[in-house]
Amino acid sequence: MEMLSNFVVPFLEPRLLGLVALGTFAGIYVGAIPGLTVTMATALLLSLTYSWEMLDALAMIMGVYTGGVYGGARSAMLLNIPGAPASVATTFDGYPLAKRGEAGLGLGLATVMSVTGGLIGTMFLVFFAPLIADFALAFSHRDYFLLALMGLMLLGALSGGSFLKALFVAFLGVNIGLVGLDTITGTPRFTYGTLALAQGINIVVAILGLFGFSEVLMQLANRRKSEVVAQVGRLFPPLRLVVRLLPLVVRTSVIGVFVGALPGVGGEIAALLGYDHAKRTVKQPSRPFGEGAFEGIAAPESANNACIGGALVPMLTLGIPGDAVTAVIIGALVIHGLNPGPTLMINTPELFYVVAGSVFLAHLMLLVFGFLGIEFFRRLVTVPPGYLLPGITLLTVIGAYAINNDVTDVVWSFGFGVIGFLLRINRVPVAPMVLGIILGPLLDESFRGALIAANNDPGTFLLGFVSSPVSLVLSTVILLTVLANLGVFKALRRTGGG
């Protein structure tokens, strides 16, 4: 009962309610603008709320966090530029849907599914936090390696008919992700003696180029051929569609919660795994995946918002950040004299439930602000190319620059844009490269970490895949996916049938 009373504090306290609302509203716009990250916004907020009451500061930060994760979907769907890495998977079906003249429905669906995923994630946070924390702690280097491999399985869904070239591009992405100083030994890799490359290539810079600038070049190349879809369609998704997608959304939300709970693994991987899950399990999608399937929007959007609840679990129960934003929030707790870690829940249990209540409230606010803002955003698709293309280019420039306040990043971004354009005119998708850049560092570090943990003995390393329950489950899923991708099950059914 006491738990419930703390949970509803943000709903009943007008000051907290207002701060959550303000944070959510601001977060949506921060998330929608490429280059402005939720981490940047929460860090800035930390300095602004330094002298505030602890709960006031946390309420606003939770609002920005929630709104920011959701906001990235808007530019992803309307401009093919993910506002944040967590929205990369939303472009796969969101942008084709907008091009079909159904931008309003896509944004509406993303809003409903983000809210659903977020609420499921918060419920997991409230009721199963200790269980999820145990699960996260049970993850070894080997399991992170398997998780990265699972993410790479998505390649089959993104290859667009040219699997060989898509695989090449994905591996190229992995190598690009490894540019910079090796995190284990500090050895420079692919830096060619330049300082600019030593810090690595920022994923946002690559995404802005590969999706944003390459889209500008594609539109320039097809200007005489393409018809501008100046309609945006309906706004609210039909109830029947929402109900039909609900079982999928529940599954992808659970994926999001557990991925979010893993330290160092964020919403981008949750969304990619969610999309992959939808691609593999939905036998009859509303439309083919990659051509505006509703399932391709619902899955990543629910997974990345559910990730918030998951990321808060290790932060609140163990004092370990689940992602960059929760690392900043830990800073906020320390500034306000609290000691993040297992004692936090013992000494200040009310804080845990107020945070969970704020996230829950922020998701409900999303429903209001999300739909109110769609009308403004969806008009973007009706802007004539003469104005839109320079606007996207400017967004790419500013977004890339704002990451490190460095013009070199802008040049990199345009370089990625040209690469993306050359790939796309040769019918090779760019998404596998982004997949590689995201998963590359995780794959490399976890593989080597697992091998070091096995005393560099290949036998012990391989035995670990079946001796640990988590590894066994992940290995089995990967094996089944590979077999399914190779068509083994279909062949077996054919053999059995006749």
């Binding site: 603008i33 280059g35 402005l36 940047m40 916004a41 800035l44 060989l164 070239k165 695989l167 090449f168 591996f171 190229l172 992995v174 190598n175 490894l178 090796d182 284990i184 030994t185 050895t187 420079p188 890799r189 692919f190 060619y192 070049l217 320039l220 190349a221 097809n222 200007r223 005489r224 004539p384 190319p385 003469g386 104005y387 293309l389 320079p390 280019t393 400017l394 420039v397 500013i398 620059y401 704002a402 306040n405 013009v407 802008v410 040049v411 345009f414 354009f421 050359l422 790939l423 005119i425 040769n426 019918r427 090779v428 794959l443 593989f447 080597r448 091998l451 070091i452 560099n456 290949p458």
Partner: protein, 143 residues
Amino acid sequence: MILRRVSLSLLFVAISVFLLLSSLAIDTKGAAFAVSPRFVPFGLSIVMMGLALRALFQDFRSPDGPAGLDGPAWRSILGFGAVVAGYLALMGTVNFHLLTFGFLMAAFFYLGVRSLPRMALVAASLVASEYLIFEYAFHVRFP
């Protein structure tokens, strides 16, 4: 025709050779090969070379390739690319907001917009938004 068909896979072969040579230059810091920072990039470049050669073989045998772009499409891209290159080249030498305004006006004009007051209004609005959101609210220091 054959060259156009195989150009991308040829580029892939060149990239994989370059990456292979680059990965060989990575210092292993005396660590065992499998746990050294060289292992993953080296292994990947070997696999990439195999994939690139296989793609080259397939493209060589395939009767049709991507349609490619015609002259006007390339001209349109190169012209816009020149405007963007000029914008990047002048960054740091001219006031960023003025430069951005100039870039937007030039880009609008290049893409066929001819209403000068409207162009100026849209460009000014975008520059003002960029200033208020990035520089004023988020303290981004532009060059």
